[in-house]
């Protein structure tokens, strides 16, 4: 396992150098386990993603996961794209922060770079209320279309009317 960490670290350093040339606006950080953390503003998200996917010899072509994290203390919602190179040791996470106070926090969709982002972005829209510009089909995926609110936000409050137990006598089909 330490062999893998070494390979990952050397790939990480090469990736950092590549990003210094291809995406100079990005803040990069190499973690001890070899993950490259890339922070970019929302308008540079697509360019940074393309830079990651264009890295040789380990293009970061495999989007493992796109997660949204609500950070009300910073008034921001962070969207984290965790990407790997498949096959290969490189690992990076592209982090974009959007302003939470607006009506429609939004950032460009990365579907054209990583098609796997499709459902993940729909889920972040559904549960956190982040709009993805350019997404082919941005609608709720897990919750019903009629659901109000974005539940994974830290300030979400439930307001469903309470349901009462139904017995055979008072069941209405």
């Amino acid at each position: 396992m330490s062999g893998m960490t070494d390979r990952r670290l050397s790939a990480a350093r090469a990736l950092r150098d590549h990003l210094a040339r291809a995406a100079p606006y990005a803040e990069t950080d190499v973690r001890p386990d070899g993950e490259v953390v890339v922070r970019v503003p929302p308008d540079k998200a697509v360019a940074a993603a393309e830079a990651l996917a264009g890295f040789r010899p380990h293009p970061l072509n495999y989007l493992s996961c796109a997660s949204g994290v609500d950070r009300p203390d910073d008034d921001q919602i962070e969207v984290v794209y965790t990407v790997h190179s498949l096959p290969g040791p490189a690992k990076a996470s592209l982090r974009v922060r959007v302003d939470r106070k607006t009506e429609r926090p939004s950032l460009p969709s990365l579907v054209q770079v990583w098609p796997a982002a499709d459902y993940h972005e729909r889920e972040i829209y559904d549960l956190l209320g982040v709009w993805f510009e350019g997404h082919p089909d941005l609608r709720r995926i897990l919750l019903a279309e009629t659901f109000q609110g974005h539940p994974l936000r830290k300030d979400f409050v439930q307001n469903r009317p309470p349901r009462r137990r139904v017995t055979r006598e008072d069941y209405q089909p």
């Binding site: 919750l143 539940p151 469903r160 139904v166 017995t167 055979r168 006598e169 069941y171 209405q172």
Partner: protein, 207 residues
Amino acid sequence: MELKRRCGRGDLPCARPEGMRLVEEPGDHSIPKDSPLRRVLPGVFIANLQQLLNWGRKNSLWYMTFGIACCAIEMMATGASRWDLDRFGSFFRASPRQADFMFISGTINEKMAEAVKLLYDQMAEPKWVLAMGACACTGGPFAGSYNVVDGVDKIIPVDVYVPGCPPRPEALLDGLLRLQKLVAREGLEFVPRGGAAAAGEEGGARS
């Protein structure tokens, strides 16, 4: 689980309901030995229509396959090789129109609630519901969250609750046998669904 009556062959629960007796049964002293009835009509049994109907119904309760979550896997295991549900007469029918009862095995959420209600409405009378697992009984480990309905009895009336997470196949079988006991107690009168005042008359055996 009490098995009060056992067949002479072993410890299988006896399928013959109480009150039903063969005229030829040894030890049956209610019909005298020299009565012409014994000679003229061998193999006749006397039963009450309600008991006969209920006996037929309870021994062939066909369930609708409605596996929702984890409990569905245990339901499948109960229907499979080791704890065969078929020996109790229960068999899966995918269409609600052909099913007698429904195992609700899994968590019901707001999106699924409409589908559950639709399926329940599509089932033909008489129908029963067995809530399997903690989620179907009261919401389970997910109770109180924003999308979960705390128990399927908030949507449709439930007859038997089988708690567990997931309940063991033996527990599910216990639930099924209790459902069979419930079915055996049903009356012949048709009780209209939907809060009719007629439901309150004595004789309507639905409890």
